[in-house]
């Protein structure tokens, strides 16, 4: 390993920044699909930290865990988009503010 490697903290900074961008997206956007994309950003940000720690500790467990995160993300997206489609069938919009049928 050469000396000019990126320190672990910089990977964690990248991870934190992406995670916060995802959080901001979930809070600010009102389009259900874009909210889903922001959740994907957050999951990816977590994957970066997992893999950074993985290499730092010379283990493979983090890679296995990020593989599981990817599985969960795929499952979440497929079910979530199916829910969005069935909501859209009910009411032709994807704006989250228009879906308040659960509110009494």
């Amino acid at each position: 390993m050469n000396l000019e490697t990126v320190p672990l903290t910089h990977y964690l900074f990248l991870s934190a920044t992406l995670f916060v961008i995802g959080v901001a997206g979930v809070l600010v956007k009102r389009n259900a699909i874009v909210v889903f994309m922001s959740i994907e950003i957050m999951l990816n940000a977590v994957n970066i930290s997992l893999i950074a720690f993985d290499r730092y500790l010379n283990l493979h467990d983090g890679q296995i865990f990020s593989f599981m995160v990817m599985c969960v993300a795929a499952a979440e997206v497929s079910v979530g988009l199916a829910i969005i489609i069935s909501l859209f069938r009910n009411k032709p919009t994807t704006n989250l503010d228009d879906f308040n049928i659960m509110k009494s």
Binding site: M1, I33, T93
Partner: protein, 170 residues
Amino acid sequence: MELLIFYPLAGICILFALGVVINNSPINSAISLIGMMLCLAGVFILQQAHFIAVLQIIIYAGAIMVLFMFVIMLLNLKGKGEDDKWQSRDNNLLLNVLSGLLAAGILYKLISIINEAKFNSPALTSENFGTVREVGTILFTEFVLPFEVASILLLVAMIGAVVLAKSKVD
């Protein structure tokens, strides 16, 4: 070398992620997200996680983004008169400012935590760290049960997606 690649890649990655949040039309957000996924695959390769990098491209940039694009286009075709509804109602300035402040607070806290943590020098990685062979060996010996559970999860998700998208809402 790693420094030379990492910082531009991280910068582009953050720009694409911001593009997802800032863009008003979902299709532009989706394209930004694809860019972000590809940059992240580069970051994973830098960290010697080749297997995860390939999976990132196949699963995220391939499957998940195709699904996103498919749904966006499907809904856009149906909702011809709903064009104005596609514009997110992000005009609530107070909400945006509060969300931005909250996000900035979380970022500040995270960065201060990372700065305070004392990390030792990293362990030396072996030559074939993160190759498909290494990861696959561990995946099919030590983590074989979670792997099988993940396959059941994906099966359940697939059935659930079919049922949800197929059912007629009365």
